[in-house]
């Protein structure tokens, strides 16, 4: 009887997760704990980094079987629906359908649109140019990734990290490089959180003290009619030009129109809060679960992280340099620092501009001026994503 007991316990232990851990899984658990520490203690983009890190922990526990990459990434290049019919699919496989089918990022964009005020951009439309200039980072990282030997589609997905826009990065990576989705999402959100550390040295290096001290004229008030017309015009123009991002841009502008029209306050509040929060949880956990040890622990992930940093730095540099050009053209009316806000990362990049500007001149308030290029960057990165999708997809 005792022998049977020992055999049963031994069998249970050998079948348990403890006996099936690999070194890679242990390392991934350690990485997920570090990310959770950054999210909880340092509050680095906690809303997404925490569920991503938790998903990463969940997927790397042995024999849990909640995520099966082969259902989505296989030779047929199609979702293996039979796994869902047979009950083989785990919980996260069901969640992941929202990414694979391109549902979550547009839903997030509805909420982002409802929370975005395009007023500063409408008041100073020249900011569009700064938002465009900062997209150079995407293409620089794309070339860099090609140099490291990545396939063109994967290089495009890596490049979009430079757009500093999480949902766009996830949308593009799920279409062009599903194998690298976890690494790309982690890189995008980590660097967005690190904007206050990455940007200021570049901004200070490329500008003089005099340029940083420039006080800009107060923005004109924007009428409600302009704010209502804006999302409709942007949607028509961008979608006609780059139809591949119709879902993203359409949802962004739908959310904004809900907010600006003022007639659907209930819907606007729902997409800003409940919908956004629910989708954030599902998106974060699903993205985290794609980071399995076997595909995350590779040299490729390190290159992705490195190229992401390069993309952010180049985007910031081009934004500031274009700001300097506009400063010269307008005879000193534009503070070049606001160009750095052209990397989307809303509103973090604009806050960094405000802070760096105030270090030189405490009475200088650049926040609203920087919000213009900041939201222009969101539109710019969506357009860039559309181009990459149509050329490399």
């Amino acid at each position: 009887m005792i022998k049977d007991f020992i055999d049963t316990v031994g069998q249970l232990l050998s079948d348990s997760g403890f006996a099936n851990f690999t070194w890679g899984q242990l390392l991934m658990i350690l990485i997920s704990c570090v990310l959770m520490y950054l999210a909880i203690k340092k509050q680095y983009e906690p809303l997404l980094l925490l569920p991503i890190a938790f998903g990463m922990l969940l997927t790397n526990l042995p024999i849990a079987g909640i995520y099966h990459p082969d259902i989505f990434i296989n030779e047929s290049q199609h979702i293996d629906w039979s796994a869902f019919a047979n009950g083989e699919a785990g919980l996260v496989d069901i969640f992941y359908l929202g990414i694979k089918l391109g549902i979550y990022p547009p839903l997030i964009f509805i909420g982002v649109g409802a929370m975005t005020d395009f007023g500063p951009l409408i008041a100073n439309p020249k900011s569009f140019l700064l938002g465009a200039a900062a997209q150079f980072g995407i293409f620089a990282a794309f070339i860099g990734a090609l140099l490291f030997g990545f396939a063109p589609a994967v290089a495009g997905a890596i490049g979009i990290i430079g757009g500093a826009d999480g949902p766009t990065a996830i949308y593009l990576a799920s279409k062009l490089a599903p194998d690298h989705l976890g690494a790309i999402a982690v890189a995008a959100y980590s660097y967005m959180a690190l904007v206050p550390i990455i940007q200021p040295p570049i901004m200070k290096l490329l500008t003089t003290k005099k340029e940083r001290s420039i006080v800009m004229e107060q923005l004109r008030p924007v009428s409600k009619l302009e704010k209502i017309c804006f999302p409709i015009i942007v949607m028509i123009l961008v979608i006609c030009l780059v139809p591949d991002v119709a879902a993203l841009v359409g949802c962004l502008m739908l959310g904004n129109l809900m907010k600006e029209s003022g007639v659907v306050e209930r819907l606007s509040k729902t997409v800003q809060n409940e919908l956004m929060n629910i989708v954030t949880v599902l998106l974060g956990v699903s993205v985290g679960c794609t980071a399995k040890a076997e595909n995350f622990l590779s040299g490729g992930t390190l290159v992705i992280l490195g190229m992401g940093l390069v993309a952010f730095a180049i985007a910031t540099a081009f934004g500031v340099l274009f700001g300097k050009l506009m400063c010269v053209i307008t005879k000193g009316k534009i503070n070049p620092l606001i160009g750095a806000a052209g990397v989307s990362a809303v509103p973090m990049a604009a806050r960094v501009v405000q802070k760096v500007g105030q270090q030189e001149n405490p009475g200088n308030f650049l926040l609203m001026h920087a919000m213009g290029p900041n939201v222009a960057g969101v539109i710019g990165s969506a357009v860039a994503a559309g181009v990459l999708l149509s050329m490399l997809g």
Partner: protein
């Protein structure tokens, strides 16, 4: 590495991004100019009725001051708080109240509100 592909994607990508955003810039600029012009025209047309509106505004301002005399102070405190939040090096050394208005202390908020609505009703046509 396929340099031809890299350069074509980069050139096409940057060109389309700039094209889209320059078009948006011009459209938004045009709409803004049109709106401000029509606003100006509207303003000139409504000059005839302006004196009447002014009277009403002045009366409303008096009422507003009586009920919310602390508003300026509140604005100053909020502005200082934002400045402090945005810049680590900014310090508030002192707050000087340059203008003060006496309000009868015995009057409660309810009484002020009643007075305000009473005056407001008298000015209503």
């Amino acid at each position: 590495m396929d340099w031809k592909l890299a350069l074509s994607v980069t050139l096409v990508g940057i060109s389309i991004v700039f094209l889209a955003l320059v078009c948006l810039w011009l459209i938004v600029q045009g709409i803004g100019a049109f709106m401000s012009r029509s606003k100006k025209d509207g303003g000139e047309k409504s000059l005839a009725v302006k004196p009447e509106i002014r009277e009403e505004t002045a009366a409303e301002e008096v009422i507003f001051d009586a009920g919310n005399n602390f508003e300026e102070e509140l604005v100053a405190v909020i502005t200082a708080a934002i400045a402090q939040y945005e810049s680590g090096e900014f310090r508030i050394k002192s707050i000087v109240r340059k203008r003060s208005k006496r309000v009868e202390k015995k009057r409660s908020a309810w009484a002020l509100e009643g007075m305000r609505s009473g005056i407001e009703n008298r000015f209503r046509v």
